[in-house]
């Protein structure tokens, strides 16, 4: 064993592959421990309320290293902000909250949103919004009656856009003499609320959406991409590993059984393999995904089923035909080993050196198969996977609109996984099959 490890260290590709796999395993463990399964699903599928405060299609934060000016999201809450309450008489109170923030960036924000929360029995409060720029100008934005959980997106208000003569998130922050430049400084949003009931409350939250958010950025639904990128690792590894184990082991056993029993068993296995070669695997998987279930476990089962009688049988068969005639098998028979014992204890272990490199190289093909299905829109409906991120990005035209991070992050992770396992597999192949090493 230690000799084997020492030999492995002579191959730089094996070392690189192993370190990539190690990193992936660490990531998987971290993902599963830090964000438990249920929490990950909630954060990925929980509904809009969870990610309302995230910007849409924001770039990952590490991109600020290259573009230090990418604005980050600023959230100002009315709790803790200066608040003035005046009694106007007749049971009406006027509440004025000043939500102030410093805007230090040269680039405009991605959008502006005001979140209002109120409690009222009959008459909901009325709110007026005023914008104060650093140079002292005051702009009336809008006034409206507040529903219990009101979300007012300045950027999506067509009337405001028309009044300002441009996108609000640009005009409201633009410098008066150069409309394409940001006027940096301290901005204030005055939220003036009129409460008609004694028990009513009003709280406000201003969100200045940035263009960079989280370690991985966000997608079109404002979801943080860190979740699927982290959780994609354990899912990809589990799928690849299980599929590879399931299909290679069963193929091996079937090839050995066929060779050992010979005659019609062998013939039947060969014919089934030929039929299986003609069965179009990917279209069948697509059909299963469309008609029955998109659950990753069902797909995994079908992948293994289709892989049992894979082309590997021919390779193993050639090998076992030699092993069957080996003297030590005859010796085993002589001392009375039964059929199954001969197959499992004497024949199959001989194929392990051929099996292990193949097995390792097979893993990425299954990882990519899962991604392929996801890209076709047949990914698991619940699980956050790399393939699903690529699908979202692709179907939302990320490449056309320049959101390259959205495609590149999952793609690079997939690529790393693929390269890691294949490099290790190739090195193992050379170690286990010395004939390759000479040349």
């Amino acid at each position: 064993m230690s000799r084997f490890v020492a030999e492995l260290r002579h191959y730089p590709s094996a070392v690189a592959g192993l370190s990539v796999i190690g990193l992936l395993v660490l990531t998987s463990v971290y993902a599963v421990v830090a964000i438990p399964y249920g929490e990950a699903i909630r954060l990925w599928r929980g509904g809009e309320a969870l990610w309302l405060e995230n910007p849409r299609n924001a770039r990952p934060v590490w991109m600020t290293l290259f573009r230090p000016d990418l604005p980050r999201t600023i959230v100002v809450r009315s709790q803790g902000a200066p608040r003035r309450v005046e009694d106007l008489g007749g049971g009406v109170r006027q509440v004025t909250m000043t939500l102030a923030f410093d805007y230090p960036y040269h680039d405009f924000p991605d959008g502006l949103g005001v979140f209002l929360e109120t409690e009222a029995v009959d008459r909901p409060p009325h709110v007026a919004l005023l914008w104060h720029t650093p140079d002292g100008a005051e702009i009336r934005i809008n006034e409206f009656t507040v529903r219990p959980r009101e979300v007012y997106r300045l950027s999506d208000d067509p009337r405001l856009r028309q009044e300002l003569g441009g996108p609000p998130e640009v005009v409201l922050l633009a410098s008066p003499d150069a409309p394409d430049r940001v006027l940096r400084g301290r901005y204030q949003l005055l939220v003036r609320g009129y409460l008609f009931e004694q028990a009513s409350t009003l709280e406000a939250r201003l969100v200045v959406y940035g263009k960079a958010h989280g370690l991985a950025g966000t997608d079109h639904l404002r979801r943080d991409l860190t979740i699927p990128l982290l959780w994609g690792a354990p899912i990809a590894m589990a799928f690849g590993l299980l599929a590879a184990v399931g299909s290679t082991l069963s193929t091996l056993v079937i090839a050995a059984v066929g060779v050992w029993y010979g005659r019609w068993v062998d013939g039947a296995i060969q014919r089934i393999t030929e039929v299986n070669l003609i069965l179009p695997a990917l279209p069948i998987l697509i059909m299963i995904g469309t008609l029955y279930s998109r659950s990753i476990w069902v797909i995994l089962g079908v992948v293994i089923l289709l892989g049992i009688f894979g082309p590997g049988i021919k390779t193993y068969r050639a090998l076992f035909l030699q092993v069957k005639e080996a003297p030590y098998v005859e010796a085993a028979r002589a001392y009375g080993a039964g059929n199954l014992r001969t197959v499992f204890v004497y024949m199959i272990p001989r194929a392990i050196p051929v099996l292990i490199p193949q097995f390792v190289t097979l893993i990425p093909s299954f990882v990519f198969l899962e991604a392929t299905l996801a890209v076709l829109g047949l990914g698991d409906p619940v699980l956050p996977t790399w393939g699903k991120v690529i699908e979202d990005a692709y179907s939302k035209g990320a490449l056309f609109s320049g959101h390259y991070y959205w495609v590149l992050e999952p793609a690079v992770l997939l690529m790393l996984t693929g390269l890691g396992f294949t490099m290790l597999g190739f090195a193992l192949d050379r170690i286990f099959n010395p004939r390759l090493r000479e040349i």
Binding site: S13, G17, R271, E274, V275, L277, I278, L279, P280, A281, L282, P283, I284, I286, M287, I288, G289, T290, L291, Y292, P311, T361, P364, S365, F368, A371, T372, V375, L376, G377, L378, I390, Y394, L399, F400, G402, Y404, V407, L408, A411, L414, M415, G418, L419, F421, T422, M423, F426, R435, L436, I439
Partner: protein
């Protein structure tokens, strides 16, 4: 086979006729075997498609809808009282279901589907139409097949010749930096073609804007055959590069290893000792004995390409069979999905068959005689 042999003259004077006859009998047996394989494969496909009874459900709703429409347009029916009309509808539905064989047991029906599928009577699409507006699944598939063939056959041919010749060149000077670079790059073949496609689109279409994002020709299509062809070629560059990148290093690597194993054989050493040129050695002593393996792997790569096409075509918006299948998934158009799957099964079978014939032509063991092989 046995009765075919006495026809051959025992003298060795006419080996060509003898060989031809053997090749023909061999091909005929393989054809029968393959046909049976296709039948089983297509039947399995139908079972998968029909296992949950989805095809039946679709057919039944279709019948009900059609009967409903015909009844509502029939003035004689409209005068009938409601429950009388309902009874009449049920009767018509029952007749139609019997006509289509839906009242028969499941296994018998799958046999009917099998017969229809094998004769390529693939039925009507539910939502998709062909370019000419036809709803026949066969027409939809026939529309989409040529672009797929154009893209994949040219890519595979290019790939095949490039990798075999590059491998020959490398095997001549193994151990060189170039050789080691190819070995180091071999793991890049793990990702599928669409994966490289995304990167290529990003670089050449989105960032550099030198090549189109996808599609097969410019819109509107240019006038004149030459300019049309040029436009198609321009659109083929990126998908072909993607296909090329995903296999080239691995196949050069494995061919090179393969040739190296063969060039260490004793008879090659003898040929070298005789002073033959390296070209002659390659042609006669390395390429000749490895030809069956080379052809096999070419055909196998074609097989892989048929099904790998689905996502690549989708990513590049290539109007081929793969993208038709993808669209059919999106529309839940089951007849098209099943039809495309059957076509894929046929394509695979045809490839395997062509491979077998080629094998019979080039493999000396098949030529020597069938009885020797037994």
């Amino acid at each position: 086979m046995a009765e075919a042999l006495p026809l051959v003259t025992p003298r060795r004077a006419r080996p060509a006729v003898e060989t031809l006859l053997r090749v023909v009998t061999y091909s005929a047996t393989r054809l029968v075997a393959l046909f049976l394989t296709v039948v089983v494969g297509v039947y399995l496909t139908i079972l998968v498609a029909n296992m949950g009874g989805y095809v039946d459900v679709i057919k039944r709703t279709e019948i009900r809808e059609q009967v409903g429409i015909s009844v509502s347009f029939d003035p004689a029916m409209q005068r009938l009282p409601a429950e009388e009309r309902q009874k009449r509808i049920e009767e018509l539905v029952k007749i139609e279901e019997e006509r289509l064989g839906l009242d028969r047991p499941f296994l018998m029906r799958t046999v009917v589907y099998l017969r229809e599928a094998l004769r390529l009577r693939l039925g009507f699409a539910e939502r998709m139409t062909s370019d000419t507006g036809s709803r026949l699944v066969r027409n939809i598939i026939l529309d989409r097949l040529p672009p797929t063939l154009l893209l994949f056959v040219s890519a595979q041919l290019l790939l095949f010749f490039a990798s075999v010749f590059a491998a020959l060149a490398l095997s001549r000077r193994y151990g060189s930096p170039l050789d080691r670079a190819v070995i180091a790059l071999a793991p890049t073949s793990a990702p599928p073609a669409w994966f490289y496609g995304i990167f290529l689109i990003l670089i050449f279409a989105a960032l550099l804007r030198v090549l189109p994002f996808g599609g097969m020709v410019d819109a509107p299509p240019p006038e004149g055959a030459l300019r049309y062809a040029a436009s198609v070629l321009r659109h083929m560059v990126l998908p072909m590069t993607a296909l090329f990148l995903t296999t080239i290093f691995l196949s050069v690597y494995s061919w090179r290893t393969f040739f190296l194993i063969f060039s260490s054989e004793d008879y090659v050493e003898v040929a070298k000792a005789k002073g033959l040129t390296s070209r002659a050695i390659e042609r006669r002593y390395i390429l000749r004995p490895t030809l069956p393996t080379i052809v096999t792997s070419f055909a196998l790569s074609l097989i892989g390409a048929w099904t790998g096409a689905i996502v690549l075509e989708t990513v590049f918006n290539w109007p081929g069979l793969g993208r038709a299948l993808f669209q059919a998934i999106g529309l839940y158009d089951t007849p098209v999905i099943v039809g495309a799957t059957i076509i894929y099964a046929y394509l695979l079978a045809v490839t395997v068959f062509v491979l077998d014939i080629l094998y019979a032509l080039i493999d000396p063991r098949v030529k020597v005689g069938l009885e020797g092989q037994r």
